[in-house]
C-alpha cells in the first residue's frame, strides 16, 4: 500500500493510509495529551485535548479523529493550543476531588499526567465553580468500585464494554452537567448484566473505576492465565509473594490484551490458606473412607511428613502393587492444568518407571471424542485453525458451546467480527445462550440429537447443490457412501427427532453453505455423548462438504476446556499414544522410545480414565497415582466413583489443594501451581506459550516434574533434569510436531503453533492447507442414535450439565477466589417457568433432584432460556455436585461419558440442607 507523507512539527513522517494524525505523531515519539483516546477503540473525539493545528484546516481539529492526508503539515503545540488544552483540564480538575495522594490510581492517572504536562495552576482553579454534589460510590461489584466523582466522561469504559467486550452493560446517560456513566436503569453494578471482566476498569484513565483492594505491584511477570484453554497471556503484578494485580498482554495474538473475570480477578487462590504446603501421610488406623465424610478436616485424617518420608510411602505403595499384581494393576492420572513438561514426564514415568500405559487425564471427559474422530477424518486431533480465523470468518456456526461463559475471550473476538464485519452467526444449542440470543438463527435441538441435525443440514445443502464439488473431488474420499446415508435425513424427518422446525434447518444450512468462508465452533455439547465420535465426524463432514477447511476464515474449532488440555494430549498423557500422537501399537515407534528411554516398554494399550474407575471397582486395578485431577467431583455417577476409589489398595495424590479426591489418599504430595513454576502450556489453537515462575512455592511444595523425577529415581528409573527447559529439549527430540520448540524460541510474544518441525520452522497457524494431514479428508456415513438414557415416567426431565463463567470445573481454584466465589457462591438448577409451575416450585426454593443414580438438593433458578422438559446444572459446587446424577455410559470408541443427557426427577425438597459455614477470604 502506498504510504502517506506528512510533516509533523517539522519532522517528515510516512505512514499507512487511514492512520490518524495522533497515531502518526505518537509513532515518531511526539506526545499529544489525550483523555478519551484508547488505541483499542474507535476514535471518539470527546475530550478535545488532542487538538492540533493543520495547515489549510479551520480551527483546531482533534488529531485522534483526523486521518492523515498527503503533504499535511501539522503543528502539535503552540500558545493557543496550550491555552485551550489548559482550559479543558482546568474545568475537569475543578470538578474533580483532590485526593490524589490517597487515590489508588496514583501515578497511573492520565488526568494527573495531562494536568502536570500542561502546567495547570492552582490559582486559575480557584476561580472556578466547585462541585456541589458528591455522588455515592458504587461498591456493589466484588471486584471493583465506581466513584462517579472522579469520572471525566471520556466514555472509554462505555466503549470498551461495547466495542471490546460486546456486552454494553453501561452507557453515558443524561445530558449536560448531569451526564454520567450508568448501568442499565441506574441499577447497582452487581445487579446488571455486567460480567465483571474488569476491562473497563483496566482502561479507565482516572480513579473512577478501580479494582477493590488495589495496590501497585513491585514487578510484573509475563505469564499465562491458568484457567481455560483460550490461553490469554497476562502480566502478573507481584508484590511480596502475592499476585496483587493482573493485566492483559496487548501483544498477545489470542486475547489482544483482553481478559475475563477469572483471568483478571481469580488469582487469590494461589495464596489461599488451604494450599498444601507440606507432604501429608494418612494417619495410622484411619480408613480411606474417612475422607468421604462431610466436613472432615485435613488434620483429622493426615499428619504432616517430610519429603523423604512421603516419597518413600509413595514408592513403597506403588512397588508393592507392581510386585504383587503387575504393572497394569496401576494407573496414573495426569493433569491438564500442569505444564507440557510435567505431562511429558508423568507419562514417561508411567511408561518407563511403572511399565504401564494406564495413563490418562481429563481430556477423556471433554474432548476424547474430538481427538479420536478428527484423527480419523483429517489426520490431526486438534483445532485446525487459529482464533484469528474465527475473527475473520464470514459465517460462524456454533454447536454445543456456550462460548461466552466457557471461552469468553474467543466469544469476544467472534462478537467483534459480527459488529465490525457483519459476520453471520448460527447457534445450535438446546438453551438460548447469550450468543444464541444474538444469532441470526438459533436452532434449539433436543439434547443428543446433533447427528440428526447436522445430517439434515447436509442433506439440504446437497439438495440445493450448494456443496463444494471441487473440494470434495480434489481433497476428500468416502463421499459416495456418505451421500447415500444422508438421503434418510431430509429436514422434515430430522425435525421430528430434533424438535427444530424443518424450515429453520433449511435456512441455517443455506446460510452456512452460502458463506464464502465459515468456521464451526463446538464444545462439550458435541463431545460429551455416547455418540461423541459420531457427532464430531458429522461436524467434520459438514466442513468438508462445504470446502471450509484450510483457508483463512474457515476451519474446525473444537474449543478445549483446560489451560493445557491440548498440551496434555500432545504430550501423550493418553493410554494409546506416546507424545505427538505416535501410537504405542506401532513397533517402530515403540522401538524409538525404547531406545530413547533406555528401557523395554509395555505394548498393551492402557486403560482410559473412565475404564480405570470401572477396573478399580471390579478389583483389577489396585493402585492409582493422581496428579491435579479430582475425579470425585468430575466423574459421572459419583457414587460409583467414590466406591471404586475407596476400594483401591493404594492411592497417592499430587495436588495444590486437599481436593475431594486427595482426602481419600494414602499420601498427598504438595505441588506448585502455575504461578510458581516455569514451563509451557498449549492453548486450544495449538499455540505453545511460556508460563513463568512469578512467586516462591508455599512451604515445601515442589514443581510436579520435580516430584515425579524424585519418585522415579526411588523406583529405580533415574530421571534428572536441571530445569524444565531441559525436559522441553527432550520432548522436541522425540515429538516431531514439537520438533522446533525450545524455551529459548518461546520468548517471543506470540509463542509457536504446532506442528513446528525444526528449529527454523515458523509454526503452523492453519492445518490442512493444501492437503489433509492424513492425505485426503475422509467422509464418514454417520447414523443418528438416541442418547443412552431417555426420559421416562419416573425420571421425566432431561438434565444437561455444563459450566458457568465465574467458576472453573471442580471449583478447587475458583471457589477459593474471593471475587469468583462472591459472584457465584451457590449452585442452582435452571428450569423454565412453565416447568417450574407444573412441578409447583418457586424461584430460589430448594428442590430435590434425583436420577437413577443418586439425589442432590439444590436451589432452583427460573430461566426461560432453558427449553421445556430440559433442566441445566453446572458441576462446580461440592454442596450440590451435579455429577451424582449424570450417566456413566460412554462412547464406545472415545470412552467419554454422556454428561449432556441424563434423566431426572425434580420434586420439592422435604428439608433444606444445612449450608456449610461460608468463609470467603
Amino acid at each position: 500500500m502506498k504510504k502517506i507523507e506528512l510533516v509533523i512539527d517539522g519532522q517528515s513522517v510516512s505512514v499507512a493510509p487511514g492512520t490518524t494524525v495522533l497515531e502518526a505523531a505518537r509513532m515518531v515519539g511526539i506526545y499529544i495529551p489525550t483523555l478519551c483516546h484508547d488505541p483499542h477503540l474507535e476514535p471518539y473525539g470527546a475530550c478535545r485535548l488532542c487538538i492540533v493545528r493543520i495547515d489549510g484546516m479551520r480551527g483546531l481539529p482533534t488529531s485522534c479523529t483526523t486521518p492523515v492526508q498527503q503533504n499535511m503539515s501539522v503543528v502539535t503545540e503552540d500558545e493557543e493550543i496550550t491555552r485551550v488544552r489548559r482550559g479543558i483540564v482546568e474545568l475537569a480538575l475543578a470538578d474533580h476531588p483532590s485526593d490524589c495522594l490517597t487515590c489508588v490510581k496514583s501515578d497511573e492517572c492520565e488526568l494527573r499526567r495531562v494536568a502536570s504536562y500542561l502546567g495547570v495552576e492552582k490559582k486559575s482553579l480557584e476561580h472556578l465553580h466547585k462541585r456541589t454534589h458528591v455522588a455515592d460510590l458504587d461498591t456493589s461489584n466484588p471486584a471493583f468500585d465506581f466513584d462517579r466523582n472522579k469520572c471525566v466522561l471520556c466514555g472509554i469504559c462505555v466503549r470498551v464494554c461495547k466495542e471490546m467486550v460486546g456486552l454494553g452493560a453501561i452507557d453515558l446517560c443524561g445530558r449536560g452537567y448531569e451526564t454520567r456513566v450508568s448501568t442499565f436503569a441506574g441499577k447497582q453494578w452487581s445487579d446488571t448484566i455486567c460480567q465483571s471482566c474488569g476491562e473497563c476498569v483496566e482502561h479507565c484513565p482516572t480513579g473512577a473505576l478501580t479494582p477493590k483492594r488495589a495496590v501497585i505491584p513491585q514487578r510484573e511477570v509475563k505469564t499465562l492465565c491458568p484457567f481455560c484453554g483460550v490461553g490469554c497471556s497476562i502480566y502478573a503484578g507481584v508484590r511480596g509473594n502475592r499476585i496483587v494485580r493482573v493485566r492483559g498482554d496487548r501483544d498477545n495474538p489470542v486475547s489482544m490484551g483482553g481478559l475475563c473475570v477469572k483471568g483478571r480477578f481469580g488469582y487469590d487462590f494461589v495464596n489461599h490458606p488451604d494450599r498444601l504446603t507440606t507432604p501429608l501421610i494418612r494417619k495410622e488406623g484411619v480408613p480411606r473412607s474417612a475422607g468421604l465424610a462431610q466436613n472432615v478436616s485435613v488434620e483429622d485424617i493426615f499428619s504432616p511428613a517430610d519429603w523423604d518420608e512421603a516419597l518413600s510411602v509413595a514408592a513403597a505403595g506403588l512397588e508393592e502393587i507392581l510386585d504383587a499384581e503387575g504393572a497394569d494393576a496401576l494407573a496414573v492420572l495426569s493433569s491438564a492444568k500442569c505444564t507440557n513438561e510435567d505431562n511429558y514426564l508423568i507419562q514417561k514415568f508411567a511408561r518407563a518407571a511403572l511399565h504401564t500405559n494406564n495413563v490418562d487425564h481429563c481430556a477423556r471427559l471433554c474432548h476424547a471424542s474430538t481427538v479420536a474422530a478428527a484423527i480419523e477424518s483429517f489426520g490431526d486431533g486438534a483445532m485446525s485453525n487459529s482464533v484469528s480465523d474465527i475473527a475473520e470468518a464470514e459465517a460462524i456456526f456454533i454447536i454445543g458451546s456456550n462460548t461466552t461463559e466457557c471461552h469468553p475471550i474467543i466469544a469476544r473476538r467472534l462478537k467483534q467480527n459480527i459488529r465490525r464485519n457483519g459476520a453471520r452467526l448460527i447457534v445450535a444449542d438446546p438453551r438460548r445462550t447469550e450468543l444464541a440470543g444474538i444469532a441470526e438463527k438459533h436452532l434449539s435441538h433436543r439434547p443428543g440429537t446433533d447427528v440428526a441435525l447436522l445430517n439434515a443440514m447436509m442433506n439440504w445443502i446437497v439438495e440445493c447443490g450448494l456443496h463444494d464439488h471441487r473440494f470434495i473431488d480434489e481433497r476428500c474420499e468416502g463421499f459416495t457412501p456418505f451421500l447415500e446415508n444422508l438421503k434418510e435425513y431430509d429436514p422434515d424427518r430430522a425435525a421430528l427427532i430434533t424438535g427444530v422446525r424443518a424450515d429453520d434447518i433449511r435456512e441455517a444450512a443455506e446460510l452456512f453453505a452460502r458463506a464464502a468462508s465459515a468456521v464451526i465452533i463446538y464444545g462439550m455439547g458435541i463431545t460429551q455423548h455416547t455418540t461423541g465420535v459420531d457427532n464430531v465426524k458429522s461436524v467434520a463432514n459438514l466442513l468438508m462438504l462445504t470446502g471450509n477447511m484450510g483457508r483463512k476464515g474457515t476451519g474446525f474449532s473444537p474449543l478445549r476446556g483446560q489451560n493445557n488440555v491440548q498440551g496434555a494430549c500432545d504430550m501423550g498423557a493418553l493410554p494409546t499414544v506416546y507424545p505427538g500422537y505416535q501410537r504405542i501399537d506401532d513397533p517402530e515407534v515403540r522401538a524409538r522410545f525404547t531406545t530413547a528411554w533406555g528401557i523395554g516398554l509395555n505394548d498393551r494399550n492402557g486403560l482410559a480414565l473412565t475404564d480405570m474407575i470401572t477396573a478399580a471397582d471390579r478389583g483389577t486395578l489396585h493402585g492409582m497415582y493422581i496428579i491435579g485431577e479430582n475425579p470425585l467431583m468430575s466423574e459421572p455417577h459419583l457414587e460409583h466413583t467414590r466406591t471404586a476409589i475407596t476400594k483401591l489398595r493404594f492411592l497417592a495424590v499430587q495436588d495444590i489443594f486437599p481436593t475431594e479426591t486427595a482426602l481419600l489418599a494414602d499420601v498427598i504430595l504438595p505441588a506448585t501451581c502455575f504461578a510458581e513454576t516455569t514451563g509451557t502450556f498449549t492453548n486450544t489453537e495449538r499455540r505453545i506459550q511460556m508460563v513463568r515462575r512469578a512467586l516462591n512455592p508455599p512451604g515445601s511444595a515442589r514443581p510436579d516434574w520435580h516430584i515425579i523425577s524424585d519418585l522415579s529415581c526411588r523406583l529405580g528409573y533415574p530421571m534428572s533434569y536441571p530445569d524444565s527447559s531441559a525436559i522441553m529439549d527432550e520432548i522436541a527430540r522425540l515429538t516431531p510436531i514439537y520438533g522446533g520448540i525450545s524455551h529459548r524460541r518461546l520468548q517471543r510474544p506470540d509463542g509457536l503453533q504446532w506442528p513446528c518441525w525444526d528449529s527454523r520452522h515458523p509454526g503452523t497457524p492453519r492445518l490442512h492447507e493444501h492437503r489433509f494431514t492424513r492425505g485426503r479428508g475422509k467422509f464418514y456415513a454417520v447414523s443418528y442414535k438416541p442418547p443412552a438414557e431417555i426420559p421416562s415416567t419416573d425420571f421425566p426431565l432431561m438434565l444437561t450439565t455444563g459450566r458457568v463463567l465465574e467458576h472453573f470445573h471442580t471449583g478447587s481454584m475458583s471457589r477459593r477466589s474471593r471475587v469468583l466465589e462472591s459472584l457465584k457462591p451457590q449452585g442452582h438448577l435452571d428450569m423454565c417457568g412453565e416447568d417450574a409451575r407444573i412441578i409447583g416450585v418457586q424461584a430460589d426454593e430448594f428442590i430435590l433432584v434425583s436420577s437413577p443414580r443418586g439425589k442432590i438438593t439444590v436451589k432452583v433458578r427460573i430461566d426461560n432460556n432453558v427449553p421445556r422438559g430440559t433442566v441445566f446444572m453446572a458441576f462446580h459446587w461440592k454442596e450440590s455436585p451435579a455429577n451424582v446424577l449424570t450417566n456413566s455410559a460412554v462412547d464406545p470408541v472415545a470412552r467419554i461419558p454422556e454428561y449432556k443427557v441424563s434423566s431426572v426427577l425434580v420434586t420439592k425438597a422435604a428439608h433444606v440442607p444445612p449450608q456449610a459455614e461460608k468463609t470467603i477470604h
Binding site: I170, D171, C173, G174, I438
Partner: protein
Amino acid sequence: MSDRSQLISTGESFAFDAERDAEFERLVVRYPIRESMIMPALWMAQEQAGWISAEAIEYIADRIGTFPAKVLELATFYTMYQLKPVGRYHICVCRTLSCWLRGKQDIVDYLADEIGIKPGEMTEDGKFSFEEVECLGHCGTAPVVQINGEFHEEMDLKKFKALLATLT
C-alpha cells in the same frame, strides 16, 4: 433535572401493538444502521403507553438488536421521552432565556400554587403533569407552553388559565 438514569419497571412485559408493530417494520428498513431506529421506536413506545418503562427499553433494544444501555443513553438524553407516567395532559413550560424574560415564571407559579404541581410532578387525579424544558425553538413568540406536543405561544397567565379550562 432529575436523575434520569433511574427507570421504572412495570413488572409486565412490553410489546408494540399490532399497528405499531407494522409501523416498526415499515420504518426499520429505511435505516442503513438499525440503531438509528431507536429514537422513532422510543417515540412509538411512548405514544402507546404514555411513557417509557424499563421493559419498553429492553423490548426496543431486543427488537433492534442493540444493548439496552444504548437505548437508555438516548432515552435519557432527550427530555421529550417520559421515563415515568405523565398526566393525561402533559404541560411543558419553556424555561430558557426568552421565555424566562417574557414571564414564564407566572405560569410556573400558578401551576405550583393553584394546581399544586411542581416541575416533575403530576396531579393526584392524573389529569395534569408538568415539567420545565429547555428552549422549544419558538423564542420569537415567547413564552411558549407545549401541551401533549401542541404549541401555545405568546402565553400569559390569563390565556394559560383559559387554556386549562378548555381541557377536560
